[in-house]
Symmetry: C2
């Protein structure tokens, strides 16, 4: 699988789109806001640049795409008012893989920019938005051209499915039944990728530039612990059921592995220190319920079904990978079964995603 070509959230604004199924990711951005606000505040206060270039890496398309950066811009605008300084000009780079639906983002920009301008007031500097297609496991921007990098729920995606997963039969990700060499292969790929990510960003950021990265991760030291892996184990159950019923070939399932790694904060810290371009300002771990709608009131009946919500959220994320490997025909079946399995487990267990958040300064 060519991850760079295949991996992208569901585009458009339809029922299965990421745009309409990304409330979990939005909650995570909101939870992380104190850390991103702190970071951009320190950045602005220390240098007061006349122009600020902000990149959102793995922006996808939908409300979240513009949510994070608009919050950052509002923080700067409020600061510069308190400090009685002229507004900087803002340059926003929205990055994702080339398969991302940039057209949908771009068509929503005009309304967004009008609203943002109304909120900021007319004496605020212009905000220029650009789309940057490409993998963040490579250079994306000119040297010393960025002030702030934000990335949320993107860096758990690897640049490729690790090599050497032949023994991971019946699983689609690390699992408690995965042999040790599978866990090692996944970890090695994470190390390579994350280290390369840090190196590329360090070239692109100005000295003193900052990054806040939120990664889907885990608290446990055990890479095959439930925290990071359970959501995929349940998908594997749905796929294995379909193998048993002859709807999917066993060989097809055995060669399918999710190009993801859910690191612990220790692993994140270790790579940052080893790579050496950044110092760590903050490193924290939080949790968010699988079902983003859990504490919402006034829900339509459909959204009261947690299994439905979570399966839809996961479908928006992983459908292109499934379709690319197994074909279009089985996809509705997969997610129908996945929904039922998830609903059953959610009724019996506490089900949460773990977020590892790190705030970094280029040294």
């Amino acid at each position: 699988m060519e991850v760079g070509q295949v991996l992208h959230m569901n585009g458009g604004v339809g029922d299965s789109s990421y745009a309409n199924n990304s409330l979990v990711q939005q909650k995570v951005i909101t939870m992380t806001k104190p850390i991103t606000e702190d970071a951009i505040t320190k950045l602005y206060k220390s240098s007061c640049p006349v122009a600020i270039a902000i990149a959102d890496l793995g922006c996808s398309s939908g409300p979240n795409t513009l949510f994070a950066v608009s919050e950052l811009i509002k923080v700067v605008d409020s600061l510069r008012r308190k400090m009685k300084r002229k507004s900087p000009e803002y340059q926003v780079f929205l990055n994702d893989l080339p398969g991302n639906d940039f057209n949908t983002i771009f068509r929503s920009l005009s309304v967004f920019q009008t609203n943002l301008r109304n909120q900021l007031g007319t004496d605020s500097g212009p905000c220029f938005f650009t789309g940057v297609p490409g993998s963040f496991y490579g250079r994306l921007f000119r040297k010393n051209s960025l002030h702030f990098v934000h990335s949320s729920y993107s860096l758990q995606w690897l640049s490729q499915v690790p090599e050497g997963l032949e023994n991971n039969k019946g699983n689609i990700y690390m699992a408690s039944s995965s042999p040790p060499d599978v866990l090692r292969a996944y970890y090695k790929q994470f190390q390579q990728d994350f280290s390369l990510f840090l190196k590329c960003r360090s070239e692109e950021l100005v000295d003193g530039g900052r990054m806040v990265l939120t990664v889907l991760g885990r608290r446990s030291d055990d890479p095959s612990s439930k925290e990071g892996c359970y959501i995929w184990e349940l998908l594997a159950m749905a796929l294995n059921d379909m193998v048993l019923e002859g709807m999917i070939e066993e060989e097809k399932l055995n060669t399918f592995n999710i190009p993801q790694y859910t690191p612990s904060q220790v692993e994140v810290k270790y790579e940052v220190l080893k790579e050496g371009s950044f110092s760590i300002d903050r490193l924290e771990v939080t949790e968010v319920n699988w079902n983003a709608y859990q504490n919402e009131t006034d829900l339509s009946d459909a959204f009261k079904d947690g299994g439905y919500n979570v399966a839809k959220c996961m479908r928006a994320v992983v459908e292109p990978l499934i379709v690319s490997h197994f074909g279009e025909d089985i996809v509705d079946q997969v997610f129908q079964r996945y929904r039922e399995i998830i609903a059953d487990r959610m009724s019996k267990e506490k089900t949460e995603f773990v977020n590892v958040i790190v705030s970094l300064i280029k040294v």
Copy 2:
């Protein structure tokens, strides 16, 4: 009509797409190459920047989108080799209105970048491509952030349909039968738009930065002369025929006007001098046959029909405007008739587009 929302070339890579029907535009870029080469050569020799930011305004999607900038990059690379200098990093901004098909551009970038890298060699600096959605009749980039601006066959498009065209009945653009106030309204809109364009770009370009602009225009002083207007008069004939046959309401036709202005070189020069931010290095006029395939050999039978070629080319350009105003249902009919009318005229007259090319330096 909200031009900024409606105007865009046909997206995708299908039979009616701009990508597959833009050979005329490509020929114009090729014809203009000596002028763009001259301009980027002078720019590079005078300042040898370590990073070069190039913007293509109105890039559309298709082979032309990357053709012009890749030629510019090759010129710089060849120069810096002769001068034995280290390669600059290249930042390319591809701009068009938000309705443009950026997804298709972005998905083609990976192959394009690999080919470009193979042509340039491994010691060449990286090229970073970004998409910039928005109207060039407004600021698009940070202050002093661009070195070179290229735009071909885009600036004849106005920011809006001029006001005061109520008397232009039966016509869809300036025509010999248009009353004087219609010609004045079109000219006024051109003056406003072009002047604003120059002002915005002068803020964005570094001192000594350069622009090469190619505009669909005319040689004649008369704005309603055939050169710029004939292609639209023939489309108006097709639409008028359909009014007579009851397929289009007369009122609908009377309220349709193309948001375009085809200036003379004198008009271009006048606005540049009046605005004052740029000096003129070169100002030239060339022609290109309506039928881009005219002198091509080895054509399939379809492409031997000039009317077919020209109508397809025009359809790729103007279909979204037609559909937005008249609806989807009539569009095949319109272009079938247009094709026949064009074929008839091409058999009897010399039919050419006039290109006004201006090479500018920010003073």
